[in-house]
């Protein structure tokens, strides 16, 4: 095999220019493959992160809805006389009683979840609909009371703050962080106070300690955050009054099963991240498929390049093949020579492509990228994961092997007598 390899190298060096052209073709496609997929996936991660990073893996809440089993039906079942047919009742649409979708036994659920080994973090929320009073105008808004320390650690709360310090929200009372859209509409700046009215008509003054920008403009026009204690006070509710409990799990994939389990155990509604964000998964999948398709097409085109050049080389080297065969090299030897020739081109081009791809990735990574929607991003996102490098180089080797195999087989079948007598 060493001998065959040295013959292949000698043949390559004799056709250095063509070989370099073929290798550059492979290099180019690998470069593009690595850069394209790294960039695409970086973008995917960024867009998904917009939603997924600050989304709980499981959200426990209590949806207000009319009970499917109306009280009259319960009553009737209880008093049914044996032997009589079930009667039809016409009373329907009994409305829910409580005006706030509070989570019953919120504190007990919290404690249970904190002990659960599958759970990474538990954070309560209290979401309240409010009006912001700006002069005579009332702006619709939603205040989320949060456990600030937990949100900073597990939901990257600080990442979205364009101004102000999230710690101020944790320590101060009656403080609020406004969405950028909302702050603009109210012309509210840091340190100023805004007046809010709750659904029950209570009023309170909140001091603005930060402005956040989530990347989704509609959201920023209504959303604001406050310490959970502040919101509980605002609504005149005791500590332990929550509307949501958010869970981060150690294993994201187990979220759907666990959500079902918790819903049954605590008799609450539970939604998992996969169900809540199915559309993002779809978007990510489609983008990934497209980038792989483009990358693979590039590699196949490079493969055709190698195929062509090898075919040409074999026509030019018919004499050499005939002599090799006449002097005792068999068909398999000749095939191996041309196959290794192709593989050398693939390997050299592939490795050069990996290096060039990395350089291109770094370049893209340093291109400025400023968008109002993404305040913390200053350059294009690139995923430098080694996965793409491994895929690219294995695919390059596979393509060059296939592209080399057909010409190599043709070379192995050259009849030396025909060539030698043909002269």
């Amino acid at each position: 095999m060493k001998l065959l390899l040295s013959i292949a190298v000698t043949l390559l060096r004799a056709k250095l220019r063509q070989s370099i052209v073929a290798a550059v073709g492979v290099m180019f496609s690998i470069t593009m493959f690595v850069a394209l997929l790294g960039f695409m996936n970086g973008l995917n991660d960024l867009l998904d992160g917009l939603i997924l990073n600050r989304t709980a893996h499981i959200r426990l809440y209590n949806e207000l809805q009319a009970t499917p089993r109306q009280p009259i039906a319960v009553e009737q079942d209880g008093q049914r006389v044996a032997g009589t047919p079930p009667a039809h009742h016409f009373v329907r649409s009994v409305k829910p009683k409580d005006d706030l979708p509070r989570l019953r036994n919120g504190e007990a659920i919290m404690r249970a979840m904190e002990r659960d080994p599958r759970v990474l973090a538990v954070s309560p929320r209290l979401v309240a609909q409010v009006f912001f009073n700006v002069g005579t105008v009332d702006l619709n808004g939603q205040v989320s009371g949060i456990d600030v320390a937990q949100e900073i650690r597990h939901y990257r709360f600080g990442d979205h703050l364009t101004r102000g310090d999230p710690q101020d929200l944790a320590t101060g009372s009656n403080t609020v962080v406004l969405g950028k859209g909302l702050a603009d509409m109210m012309a509210a700046d840091l340190g100023e106070t805004v007046q809010v009215t709750t659904a029950t008509g209570d009023r309170a003054m909140l001091r603005v300690v930060g402005i956040f920008q989530s990347g989704i403009a509609e959201y920023d026009k209504v959303q604001c955050y406050a310490n959970i204690r502040t919101v509980q006070k605002l609504l005149a509710r005791p500590a332990g009054y929550y509307t949501d409990i958010n869970l981060k799990l150690h294993d994201l994939a187990s979220a759907p099963a666990m959500a079902r389990e918790l819903a049954a155990r605590f008799k609450v509604d539970a939604v998992d991240i996969q169900t809540a964000n199915a559309q993002f998964e779809t978007g990510t999948t489609v983008r990934t498929i497209i980038s792989y398709a483009v990358g693979v097409v590039l590699l196949i085109v490079a493969g055709f390049g190698i195929y062509n050049i090898l075919n040409m080389m074999i026509y030019e080297k018919l004499d050499t093949i005939a002599i090799l065969k006449a002097t005792g090299f068999n068909g398999a030897d000749v095939r191996r020579i041309f196959l290794s020739l192709s593989m050398i081109i693939g390997l050299v081009g592939g490795l050069a492509g990996l290096v060039a791809g990395l350089v291109l990735q770094v370049l893209i990574d340093h291109l400025p990228f400023n968008t109002a929607a993404l305040p913390t991003i200053t350059t294009f996102p690139v995923d430098h994961s080694p996965r793409y490098f491994i895929i690219a180089v294995s695919f390059a080797l596979l393509t060059t092997w296939v592209a080399g195999w057909f010409p190599a087989r043709k070379a192995s079948r050259v009849d030396p007598v025909e060539i030698i007598r043909g002269k």
């Binding site: 001998l3 013959i7 005939a322 002097t327 090299f329 068999n330 030698i420």
Partner: protein, 227 residues
């Protein structure tokens, strides 16, 4: 008719070309070559002498009859075994197709030896240099093959044919493309190989002088041996 001292025995070889019409080019060809014998084959153009040579060299397998090389019947052997026989037992010298232009003279001579793998690279190289020295080509060893003149190329081709100490050297008009002086040199080399190395030679030629000076001349006409 094959005896222990015969290197090559040809038994009733028949061959036809079928394109465009069937023409029988070899008709019941049979002969044998003994060890150390210098045999030439002559005949008119198209009498089938080259065709016969390619059958004997095991490169052409499309024929009836059998060819026995060193007591091994070759008809029906697979390509790999035939290649091994060519590599080990047959040295070949062509009229036109001399050398691999991408390789140096030394490397050209070494290749069949490296393929055989009986000796390591250093020994094969020493052997190759020895062969080149015998043929007065040692000083050209590191030149590329395409930098040599025709006569020099043919001498290198002979050195290559000898590298594995083959039992028989076959040549298809090896002097056909050379001037008188070079042709004489090549003939001298062949004679020495037969006499000193006790190798058999089977050379197809159209040069009557060449044929007359060999141990035995086989004359072919219209696919048959006539003398």
């Amino acid at each position: 008719m094959s005896t222990a001292r015969d290197i090559l025995a040809v038994e009733k070889v028949n061959k036809s070309f079928h394109d465009p019409v069937t023409v029988q080019v070899l008709k019941d060809v049979a002969f044998s070559v003994a060890r150390g014998e210098f045999v030439s084959i002559t005949g008119k153009s198209g009498c089938g002498k080259s065709t016969l040579l390619y059958i004997l060299s095991t490169m052409d397998t499309d024929y009836q009859g059998d060819v026995v090389i060193d007591d091994e019947r070759t008809h029906g052997l697979d390509g790999e075994r035939l290649a091994a026989i060519r590599n080990e037992k047959i040295g070949f010298v062509f009229q036109f197709h001399y050398l691999l232009p991408e390789f140096s003279v030394l490397r050209n001579v070494m290749l069949p030896g490296l393929k055989l793998g009986r000796k390591d690279a250093a020994e094969v190289e020493a052997d190759a240099m020895e062969r080149l020295r015998e043929l007065d080509m040692a000083d050209q060893a590191l030149k590329m093959a395409n930098q040599l003149s025709g006569g020099q190329k043919q001498r290198v081709a002979i050195a290559r044919a000898l590298i594995n100490d083959p039992l028989i050297i076959m040549g298809d008009e090896p002097t056909g493309n050379l001037d008188k002086r070079n042709a004489d040199t090549v003939f001298g080399i062949f004679q020495r190989i037969a006499a000193e190395h006790r190798r058999s030679l089977l050379i197809v030629t159209h040069d009557p002088d060449f044929a007359a000076r060999t141990d035995r001349n086989i004359v072919m006409d219209d696919g048959r041996i006539v003398g």
